[in-house]
Subunit: 356 residues, 2 copies
DNA sequence: CGCTTCTATGTTAGCGCTGTCATAGTGCGG
DNA sequence: CCGCACTATGACAGCGCTAACATAGAAGCG
């Protein structure tokens, strides 16, 4: 066999590269370098590294040795371009500091595990303009699929998503019609069920403590569902308190204090989520109020922190991990969009706890 | 206005080789399509889209209109390949569910904002083998820089990082010599200072509650620093409790209960971090112990949750956001590795709180 | 023993974009 | 008017890799 077959132009020159001998781990080792060292063609190296197509054990060993010796790291940009497939899944979430999103990402990573795909994460900070930029930016990497939290997108972002042709999962809610696939649960229904549950427990004077509705539209949907449940019993919220900022334990504490300092006294307060509700529990502790005797509290999400409280929080658990995993599993199982948008309900359950 | 304009020109000639004229990629507007529509060359479109080189206003308008009409999204794989620059920064963190890492990512994103660079995040789950895979995988995208938490890497991962030639920031600790740049603070010193501080407050019978040291080596460094401070006062830990699992509020609660149920009674317990310490506070609340009167508690990190507690946690605040931001700023400011490894201390401060 | 079927490897032709150098057009001073 | 410095645009050659199509032996087979 022809040993020194230089298919392409040989790159001679006083550059930082040296002969094909010493294992000098340098940036700029290419397939051609490995192929030359192993005395095979580039495509053979490529095939062996990807476990694609047949290969003689002896050749394989020689190639792998050459890879090790040169410290070769494949260039995915080139690989993706050549095969028009990036092995990437784009993910856009509004936040990473709200623990529910890292949990979703955990599910996504679990589904991706062993698939050879990798997630590229974008964080929109609850800002649709940033989300639009992220959509463009991630689409530019030609992902095989996209996962994006929520249904709220700018028209441009929606157009890009639709026009991209890649499979799209809109997750965390199912109260609207998705572009392609929705995985999550109904927040309106969750809010409604919360109301029904608490009415069933005998509460009648409902208070609400929430955070920014513009950013967290899902929190508003739950609120609306709650109000609907109350309305169906001829009731309405007796008092409401809402911060313009994001949800946090500190905000929940402050907002409950503010709520109780003014206006009618509720017998139960529903919080926009567990972070806020945990803050509410802290306020009660500091103020000497014992839930649910003096005041009942109810959250949403079913976070670990709420369940580790001295008095476990009464709340509703959503399946974040399952949502992320299911979304990616469905996306990878069927690489083309179905004729009709699909919706998967990952559900939720009430955690009775001891605060309501 | 997602009007249904004939965005993607329908291409026929589905034959395997339809000359070099009409591209009939299933789905994908390319520069060539835009160029044809705008009646300019591809390079002109490329230059205008990148704001690179001169362009007549009329041409620019025509090109931008064509881009809009076709819904063109640049292919970054191709762009990166051609210019050998991906505009990517690889980031590897051990976890996203531990809030400190999203906070670091916040700092990284802040530094990246407006730079045109994008972060690609890998999560190692505190597993060095996974970290090694991630290093290879991220390096394959030819990032301009890498940020990685900690100094602990497999030999192979270290070799890849060193050999890649790209700038590397090892963050969150500075107790070892970095490959290139370290940004963070000394955990040994933090542990030592914790000990000194508590000794100064009069505590003498120290207990320790921790979590998995194999995964979280930095927690161990703090422990070691604490022990050193005690030793310098002729003391040692009177009792220790450690879970094999990760840190969590629930684990902290259980471990403190276990610690108090057996062996000598401490007058202060130092926790491996704020999550664990918060669990400790919860245990005290449930057990009727009032800190610091009955038992003092001390954490690490300075998380919001600890400060929102009815009794704010005594702890040490580290600057996660600053660490992430500083690391990326330094990396981008100087694109080649300095002759000597650099170390930046982002420090910490004691939050007195009210539990110790 | 001619012919099909594998297996192992190579050759060719781009993937979509950008760096580099070349080429027209333009205003302007001398 | 010529040369000069620009400005605006284009032609061309790859970046590093892989799909698709060869090719050449080695079996398999009736």
């Amino acid at each position: 066999m022809p040993v020194t077959k230089s298919t392409k132009l040989k790159r001679e020159g006083a550059g930082p590269r040296s002969g094909t001998r010493l294992p000098e781990r340098r940036q700029g080792v290419t397939l051609a370098d490995v192929a030359r060292l192993a005395e095979v063609s580039e495509i053979t190296v490529s095939r062996i590294l990807r476990n694609h197509g047949p290969a003689a054990p002896a050749t394989r060993d020689r190639v792998l040795a050459a890879v090790r010796e040169t410290g070769y790291v494949p260039n995915r940009l080139a690989g993706g371009l050549a095969s028009s497939g990036s092995q990437l899944v784009g993910v856009i979430v509004p936040s990473l500091t709200n623990i529910v999103f890292p949990e979703v990402l955990g599910g996504i990573r679990a589904a991706l595990d062993g698939s050879g795909f990798q997630a590229v994460i974008g964080v929109s900070d609850y800002d649709l303009a940033i989300e639009e930029e992220l959509v463009a930016s991630l689409l530019a990497w030609r992902p095989e699929a996209m996962v994006i939290a929520g249904f709220d997108h700018t028209p441009a972002a929606r157009a890009m998503l639709e026009g991209s042709g890649v499979r799209i999962a809109e997750i965390m809610e199912i109260d609207s019609t998705p572009i392609d696939l929705a995985v999550g649960h109904s927040h309106v229904q969750a809010g409604f069920d919360t109301g029904q549950y608490l009415l069933g427990r005998g509460y009648r004077r409902f208070g609400y403590v929430g955070h920014d509705w513009n950013a967290d539209r899902r929190a508003r949907l739950r609120h609306d569902g709650l109000v609907a449940a109350l309305a169906s019993a001829g009731l309405s919220l007796v008092t409401t308190q809402r911060t313009e900022g994001p949800s946090s334990v500190a905000a929940g504490r402050e907002q409950l204090a503010a709520l109780l300092a003014q206006g009618p006294k509720p017998d139960v307060v529903v919080f926009s989520n567990d972070d806020m509700a945990t803050g509410g529990v802290f306020h009660c502790m500091a103020a000497g109020l014992v839930p649910p005797r003096d005041l009942a509290l109810f959250g949403f999400n079913g976070l670990d922190i709420g369940q580790a409280l001295p008095t476990p929080l009464s709340t509703m658990r959503s399946n974040r991990f399952l949502t992320g995993r299911t979304a990616v599993e469905m996306l990878l199982a069927q690489r083309t969009r179905p004729p009709q948008p699909q919706v998967i309900d990952t559900g939720y359950e009430i955690l009775p706890g001891a605060t309501a």
